[in-house]
């Protein structure tokens, strides 16, 4: 299958030049009422879920590392709105939002965070390592950058099987500097693999600002030497994400090879729960929250366009809180795994 080198036909469909400015090339999508409300609901679910996780961590119910997605909700929400059944999703350790957006049950995710038997990985994986075969969610990976090659492999499998599904491979601005990212880029373009590389540029990798770690801070251009097209996207606006995702996914489905989307986003909370918060100012965080919060943005649009009233939104809020509270109830009452589970799932028993 690697022998399927770029045929002349594919070459003829020459791609658009990679973005050279900081402006998104694709204009934001126009959302219907249903789409705005759907986006609002998913993003709010992620936000409330993450707030609850943070709170439960503080109470000692969740241990180890716990990386919250608060602030970045529009990225995975817009991407999922553009994907279809069978598309594979893979990401790093900041994964709770991706799982919820893939339709994995809040109960199962939260019970995994508390390490209980009803968790998605039976309590064995924890916050950073969760999977769902049913939802085509391939993890949940703790090693920065590892998911990029894996996601490229998921695309390889789609192409090998001859289906038109794509792989949505998410990674951070920090992960973008790992060597295997470029090894993957090269093979993905060489073999025309249907993978959308979604770079979630939240401006920091732990305490390192992008400018302190990256020689090229326009991540949409990271594929240029491999001829992979890319563009920068306002990752705080779910409509912009959706429009760029539509374009990138269509490109991949048509057999043109990979596509890079740099999502310009922001993480409100610390890197994990323990964070010295000395590498950026409180004002910087507040400014993003006040001026470009992805949920507020949708909320304001819904109200302005009279897609729904305050009361309707309150009802959505209440529904979401119910889901999260039920999940918390389950995640604190479900028992820990049976001790015998220590020795299961190491190898497939034959």
């Amino acid at each position: 299958m690697p022998a399927t080198r770029a045929a002349p036909a594919t070459k003829a469909a020459r791609k658009p030049a990679a973005a050279k400015t900081n402006l998104p090339v694709t204009p934001p999508a126009t959302f219907t009422k249903e789409q705005e409300l759907e986006a609002y609901r998913i993003m709010l679910l992620i936000r409330r879920f993450e707030e609850k996780s943070g709170q439960m961590y503080g109470m000692g119910l969740i241990g180890g590392f716990c990386h919250l997605y608060i602030g970045q909700e529009a990225v995975v929400t817009g991407m999922q709105m553009a994907s279809k059944e069978g598309d594979a999703v893979i990401t790093g350790y900041r994964d709770h939002g991706h799982m919820l957006a893939c339709g994995m049950a809040a109960k199962g995710v939260l019970a995994e965070l508390t390490g209980r038997r009803g968790g998605l990985s039976k309590g064995k994986g924890g916050s950073m390592h969760m999977f769902s075969k049913e939802k085509h969610f391939y993890g949940g990976h703790g090693i920065v950058g590892a998911q990029v090659s894996l996601g490229t492999g998921l695309a390889f499998a789609h192409k090998y099987r001859g289906n038109d599904n794509v792989s949505l491979t998410y990674f951070g601005d920090g992960a973008s500097n790992q060597g295997q990212v470029y090894e993957s880029f090269n093979m993905a373009e060489l073999w025309k693999l249907p993978v959308v590389y979604v770079i979630e540029n939240n401006r920091y990798a732990m305490g390192t600002a992008v400018t302190r770690a990256s020689a090229q801070t326009d991540f949409s251009r990271r594929g240029i030497s491999f001829n992979i097209p890319g563009e920068q996207v306002d990752g705080m606006d779910v409509r912009a994400v959706k429009a760029a995702a539509d374009k990138a996914i269509a490109w991949c489905r048509a057999g043109n090879g990979p596509y890079i989307l740099e999502m310009q986003t922001y993480r409100y909370r610390g890197h994990s729960m323990s964070d010295p918060a000395k590498y950026r100012t409180r004002e910087e965080v507040q400014k993003v929250r006040d001026e470009s919060d992805p949920i507020e943005m949708v909320r304001n649009r819904i109200l302005a366009q009279k897609f729904a009233g305050e009361d309707d939104l309150k009802k959505i809020d209440a529904d979401v809180r119910n889901i999260v509270n039920e999940a918390a109830e389950f995640a604190t009452s479900d028992p820990e795994p049976d001790p015998s589970e220590l020795y299961t799932d190491i190898l497939v028993e034959s």
């Binding site: 707030e51 609850k52 943070g54 709170q55 439960m56 961590y57 503080g58 109470m59 000692g60 119910l61 241990g63 180890g64 590392f65 608060i70 390490g115 209980r116 990985s121 309590g123 064995k124 994986g125 924890g126 950073m128 390592h129 990976h141 703790g142 090693i143 920065v144 950058g145 920090g174 992960a175 500097n177 790992q178 060597g179 990798a205 732990m206 305490g207 390192t208 302190r212 770690a213 990256s214 909370r269 610390g270 729960m273 323990s274 964070d275 010295p276 918060a277 590498y279 409180r282 209440a318 809180r321 999260v324 509270n325 604190t332 820990e336 795994p337 589970e341 220590l342 020795y343 190491i346």
Partner: protein
């Protein structure tokens, strides 16, 4: 409805902290995400964010208070009536009915971490030959000892530099390089991107050119990205160049299980690196050894793997106040003398060993504990000497059993002390499974004091 704000546990090993500063005052309106206060631990300053909406009605712990235990109520938020149904209600429920089944270790806010193994008791250690009698001792943490070792060697030799992720501006992910950037500047204390394979190779190249890099891995789990450069380039160059070109480099960072960080972040690499000719593998337990061995490692003309342990960073020990304190690489230490059974271990394994020894003493069993300190080259002589006396040996490591360091020790004893052994060597190891996340399973996956006590009785046929 009023909601208590509790002192949060913001790291897996945090038990208490200082309430450094209040950023809100009673009467202030609070919304989700507002920073309420700053707290400090030995590692970091952190912000407490509100998850509830309402009004800050009361501050229960004034700013400046030290040693505030995790989960202590620190303030009260009064929610307004509407919020009480929409938001505060749920939080309140979670709080007034704390999760019943939460395992005991979790409700303390220090989930199933090292607290499972208490800090080691002071033991009847034989006088330390490396420390002259009458030397003044100072108490410091392992973290400080490591930092001091690097700082002293950097003052002494301009070719020594440190690089790694978050080592400079952030002051180290685990604060081991605290203050180094301030003293030595950005030329010698270098933040790298997240590119382990690349910067490990850059370190090896710089060492081949004669510089003396200290390469910090945020944890050794991430050194797997770089292991080709460590094994194929650093370890083999001297041999392949017929002795012309060595590689004076130290790869250091925390190794082994931390607490609740699961399979990809909890692995012990002692056995892995100890398999490789051309490397030296060092892994200290006490702060004094951490300091003296790291200084020796930096001066050593060979590639050194220096395995630290996150849980040990905050532990305090006596460190000799000696201007240039060096501990030789390749020498084990008898940390506790005894006559009935020998326990051989290193690093955090010492905590298990000394606790088990104290336990066994109550039952009249006199344990000798050997702190290996260097895994490669291994000080077989010290182990054999001890086993000649006790006739029994137990090894402890958190790593996997197959081809582990314990297996190597057992093999050496078989060839070098067979006639002195009165019982088979027993290996206490991490279980043969990836590290699980769940608190109860994690505890089962690690060695336990009970297992060591049982092993001691078994080799003594009691």
């Amino acid at each position: 409805m009023p909601v208590n704000i509790l002192m949060p546990a913001l790291s897996p090993t945090m038990e208490e902290g200082k309430l450094a500063k209040w950023l809100k005052k009673p009467g202030d309106a609070i919304k989700s995400g507002d920073v309420l206060a700053e707290i400090e631990t030995d590692k970091a300053t952190m912000e407490v964010e509100a998850v509830d909406e309402g009004v800050l009605s009361k501050i229960l712990v004034p700013e400046g208070t030290e040693n505030v235990k995790v989960n202590t109520p620190i303030a009260v938020i009064a929610g307004d009536v509407e919020d009480a149904t929409a938001s505060a209600g749920s939080e309140e429920r979670a709080e007034s009915a704390p999760p019943v089944v939460a395992p005991a270790a979790q409700s303390t806010g220090a989930p199933a971490s090292a607290p499972a193994i208490p800090a080691a008791p002071k033991s009847a250690a034989p006088a330390d030959a490396e420390i002259p009698a009458g030397t003044n001792m100072v108490t410091m943490t392992v973290r400080e000892a490591l930092r001091d070792a690097m700082a002293e060697e950097m003052r002494r030799d301009a070719d020594v530099f440190v690089m790694g992720e978050e080592v400079a501006e952030y002051q180290g992910a685990y604060k081991v390089t605290q203050g180094l950037l301030q003293e030595f500047g950005a030329k010698r204390v270098i933040d790298t991107p997240i590119t382990e394979h690349g910067f490990a190779g850059i370190g090896v190249g710089a060492a081949m050119a004669g510089l003396k890099p200290i390469v910090e891995f945020m944890t050794f789990n991430f050194a797997m990205q770089a292991i080709d450069q460590i094994v194929n380039s650093a370890a083999k160059t001297l041999y392949m160049s017929g002795g012309q070109m060595g590689c004076p480099i130290v790869f250091r960072g925390p190794n082994g299980a931390a607490a609740r960080v699961a399979a990809q972040h909890s692995q012990d690499y002692a056995a892995w690196y100890s398999n490789i000719p051309g490397l030296k593998v060092v892994s200290p337990y006490s702060a004094a050894d951490a300091k003296g061995l790291l200084k020796s490692a930096i001066r050593d003309p060979n590639p050194i793997i220096f395995l630290e342990n996150e849980i040990m960073y905050g532990q305090s020990f006596e460190v000799p106040e000696i201007a240039d304190y060096l501990v030789p690489i390749g020498k084990a230490k008898v940390a506790r003398s005894g006559k009935d059974v020998t326990i051989v271990t290193w690093s955090i394994g010492m905590r298990y060993a000394l606790n088990a020894a104290a336990e066994l003493e109550k039952e009249g069993i006199d344990v000798e504990v050997i702190d290996l300190r260097t895994i490669r080259p291994m000080d077989t002589a010290t182990i054999v000497e001890s086993v000649k006396k006790t006739g029994r040996c137990i090894t402890i490591e958190e790593g996997y059993p197959q081809s582990g360091v314990g297996a190597e020790i057992a093999a050496r004893l078989m060839t070098e002390a067979f006639d002195y052994l009165d019982a088979p060597v027993i290996r206490i190891t991490g279980k043969d499974v990836p590290m699980p996340y769940a608190a109860n399973l994690e505890k089962l996956a690690l060695p336990s004091i009970a297992e060591i006590v049982a092993a001691a009785k078994a080799v003594l046929y009691r």
